[in-house]
Amino acid sequence: MSAHTTTTPADVHGHVDTGHIHGHEHHHEASWLETYVFCQDHKTIAKQFLITGIFWGIVGGLLSVLFRMQLGWPNETFPFLETFLGKWAEGGKISNEFYLAMVTMHGTILVFFVLTGGLSGTFANLLIPYQVGARDMASGFINMLSYWFFFSASVVLFISFFVQTGPASGGWTAYPPLNGMRDVAINKGSGLGFDLWALAMTLFIVSSLTGGLNYVATILNLRTKGMSMMKLPLTVWAFLFTAVLGILSFPALLAGVALLEFDRLLGTSFYLNMIVVNGHLLDYRGGSPILFQHLFWFLGHPEVYIIILPAMGIVSEVLAVHSRKPIFGYRAMVISIMAIVIISFLVWAHHMFVTGLNPNLAAVFVLFTLLIAVPSAIKVFNWIGTVWKGSVRLNPPMLFAMGFVSMFISGGLTGLMLGNSPIDIQLHDTYFVVAHFHIVMGVAAFFGMFAGVYHWFPRFYGRFMNDTLGYIHFYVTLIGGYAIFFPMHFMTGLPRRYYTFANFETFNNFNFLTQFISIAAIVVFTAQLLFVVNFFYSIFKGRKVDVERTSEDGYTYGNPWDGATLEWTAPIERIHGNWPGEIPSVHRWPYDYSVNDKPYISQDTPLAPGEVEHK
């Protein structure tokens, strides 16, 4: 694929694939290692990201089940925990140190390894080349590297569970000085565990950057003939801006973490000043712990959009296909993605209203934070408008897409309270925040991801996932997700990351509720295992996609959802180079559904005589 890195856009648009024909007729016998492990094909890399993401999803979910057990039953012991966790759960009771470690790792794993790597990595890789009409990514090799950096990051992070002092335990936000001094007396997780965390994050950032550069290059340069930017499906728009966000913001985190490690390992004082431990003034002078927060949230806030934008793109596509209607307000959708991307760089300090930030500065961030609700609201209205008067096919991908919209509304609205600094004084770092971000970027992003998996499973494997299991998965997750997080809004004022509330009369009234939430969490986690079972079962035994026609050279074609985008014009067989012959050229926008008395018109269908192109 490397030849593509040097081809000019004109070449690609003109299909001058001289000297490097990607059709099946030229592929050499790839070894097992090249096919499944060090593979440069975007479809395989997408699967690798997805399956690694599923692995991390199970680990991260399991951690939440464990700490929910502590929160739900603070006075009980669970002897089997000692069997698995050893000294971290002596006598069957999770220690307060390991509780924080689990909370920290749960956050890190879910935010970065599942909802960034697993979500964006999977679908950007699968869909960008298919939907823009490219043989593969701009650089297959760099794309492969992106996955293997992600894999290495995963290995390092996983190893950190097994070091003597335990994994990082100072919160996924890694604030110094708690994480800024390599002193296990202050915080056990600030020892080797945190160094491994920092290394894993560094590898992850490299993965994200190499991946992101590739996505941008592919979308800008390798679009097929006729595929103007305004003919791109919204998924591709979302991936493009996600990649841009990542490229611009992840370096800030890398710098932040690098300086943090300097403080920890080399004795510098970037983030440390006048630290007194046990009555002894340490030698750090002149740093600022708040500086790290600025660097962290300069990534951290765009990061939530890095998570949610791909989900939004997927949902836009899925809602349109299964409502059998064009997405409502395509242009407004594109513009609102752009607006979200730009504004998302100007809101980071809303995580820092009570750090002693200059109140005047806070005002600016309040303004932009509430402003970002406008494009978000437009998107919500347009999604609902898409369902309106559709012929809605209520199958698992569609249900999950609707669940996404529901979660995004519920979680997004509470953002208006948190983003308003005077209200945030009380709500900051309490369960209200936990409810807010879990609904809006945790559960919602998962719904987007599930919608994508159910929808594009036929594209991945030529089979469907079982829909009965999909329905069970959906309803348990929808009801369970709300059962876990909606009541947390009423725990307003209860600090998060508390091992138990027993020390406070003020916070100690919600025992029955924490138990209820814990039970709901266990049920929802089990339902996700059902999804995993369905996923792997369907790879081998799922219902096959109906073959609509077979080409002369033996390829079969089928369009399982009657989708108008290019990925369904490729054969059901997943071949290197995606299309056996020429790449289809594009003549119309991606949302011609229920038009001219046809269920859909594929993007590669030329305009009929007299037909006006949709603008």
Binding site: I186, I275, N278, R324, T355, L394, Q426, D429, L469, P495
Partner: protein, 393 residues
């Protein structure tokens, strides 16, 4: 064994579900229905409608069940304004929430493929889109303006009462050190260098400053009703966050960077109890104390920034007294920190960091129930020895 049984049951349960799923698929294929979603859409339409109705009902139920348990009304003046802002936002939110959620699920039900065979090709409507851009923008602008008015009132340094009471709170793992200026109303200076900061004088108080001689450590924070208070905040080791939930006060304590929060308490502890006495939930008996809940109500100080293993244990009681007289009476009972010879005479070389605080309470988890007694003991030892804090062992 039990674990194995549970595991086996889960596996069995999953197997059954997978078989049901497969059977459904096969029976559809046999009936020649294939991937037809007409009937399924109709069923799921009903489910979606049922879901949204049940969801709304459950929210009403949650309000009924949980709202009385929530942290009660604000005990400070500015907190009433932030609460008010919360409710105004909630009002707008509720409207949007109900309309959009209902529309979403209702459309799913009303237009599902089982009943609506033909979708309408309708790609955009500029007028509509402008309306639903402008209306949220206006509402949000109103919220920003309202929010900023309250915000700048809270942090308006100019309008602050110069005679406000000042309390200095320094946080460290895992304790709050509250220093009061004593009867003279003036704090002794602190000198932040290795010559002054040592285990017996963690804040580096300058004992040569006469104002320092009557400063005292308080086992609880005492404020006066209607008297503005400026809390000066700091931290020793890591970031903590000073949080008074009943007063809507929160501000991070950052090592090396002083912060502060200015507010005015509105209700004394007694007045708050009298208010809660009238509320049904607060009249119920607390099984732990055997008394009605309102009777043992107290204001509390908590930490809201993750600060290490015993983050959840950083509790301190807060009391609001009715007037200066009651406050002065309390002050009179306190013992100054300066009750032993100035500890800054210690030789310089003994002031070097002695390595990490490895002896710190590893047993904190188990001791959590005795914590209250412990805190009191700590305070006693502080008062008698003049040191800020004995480790909680």
């Amino acid at each position: 064994m039990l674990g194995f049984v549970i595991f086996a049951l889960v596996v069995l349960f999953f197997t059954v579900l997978v078989l049901i799923g497969k059977t459904n698929e096969l029976s559809e294929d046999v009936a020649g229905k294939g991937m037809n979603y007409d009937a399924k859409s109709r069923w799921n339409g009903y489910f979606l409608l049922a879901f949204i109705i049940l969801f709304f009902v459950s929210i009403v139920y949650q309000f009924k069940l949980l709202a009385p348990i929530m942290i009660p009304k604000s005990a400070s003046y500015h907190g009433e304004q932030t609460d008010n802002l919360f409710y105004v936002t909630l009002f707008f939110m509720a409207i949007v929430f109900v309309l959009t959620q209902f529309a979403l699920f209702y459309f799913g039900y009303r237009y599902n493929q089982g009943v609506n065979k033909k979708a309408l090709f309708y790609s955009h409507n500029n007028k509509l889109e402008i309306i639903w851009t402008v209306i949220p923008a206006i509402v949000l602008a109103v919220l920003v303006v309202m929010g900023m008015r309250v915000w700048f009132q809270i942090f308006d340094v100019e309008s602050r009462d110069k005679n406000a009471m000042v309390v200095e709170v320094t946080a460290k793992q895992f304790q709050w050190m509250a220093r009061y200026p004593g009867p003279d109303g003036k704090f002794g200076h602190r000198i932040l260098d290795t010559a002054h900061i040592n285990p017996n004088n963690e804040l580096g108080i300058d004992w040569k400053d006469p104002n320092s001689r009557d400063d005292f450590w308080a086992d609880k924070l005492v404020f006066i009703k209607d008297k503005p208070v400026l809390v000066k905040l700091g931290a020793q080791d890591v970031i903590h966050s000073f949080y008074l939930p009943h007063f809507r006060v929160k501000m991070d304590c950052v090592p090396g960077i002083p912060t502060q929060f200015y507010f005015t308490p509105k209700y004394t502890t007694e007045e708050m109890r009298d208010y809660l006495k009238e509320l049904p939930w607060w009249q119920t008996i607390n099984p732990e104390t055997g008394e009605p809940r309102w009777k043992t109500f107290k204001y509390e100080l908590a930490c809201t920034e993750i600060c290490g293993r015993s983050h959840y244990g950083m509790q301190k009681e807060v009391v609001v007294v009715k007037d200066e007289a009651e406050y002065n009476e309390w002050v009179k009972k306190q013992t100054p920190i300066y009750t032993v010879p100035a500890p800054d005479a210690a030789p310089a070389d003994s002031l070097k960091p002695q390595g990490p605080a490895t002896t710190k309470s590893d047993k904190e988890t188990k001791e959590i129930k005795d914590k209250k007694e412990k805190t009191e003991k700590d305070v006693v030892s502080v008062l008698t020895s003049g040191s800020a804090h004995k480790s909680s062992k």
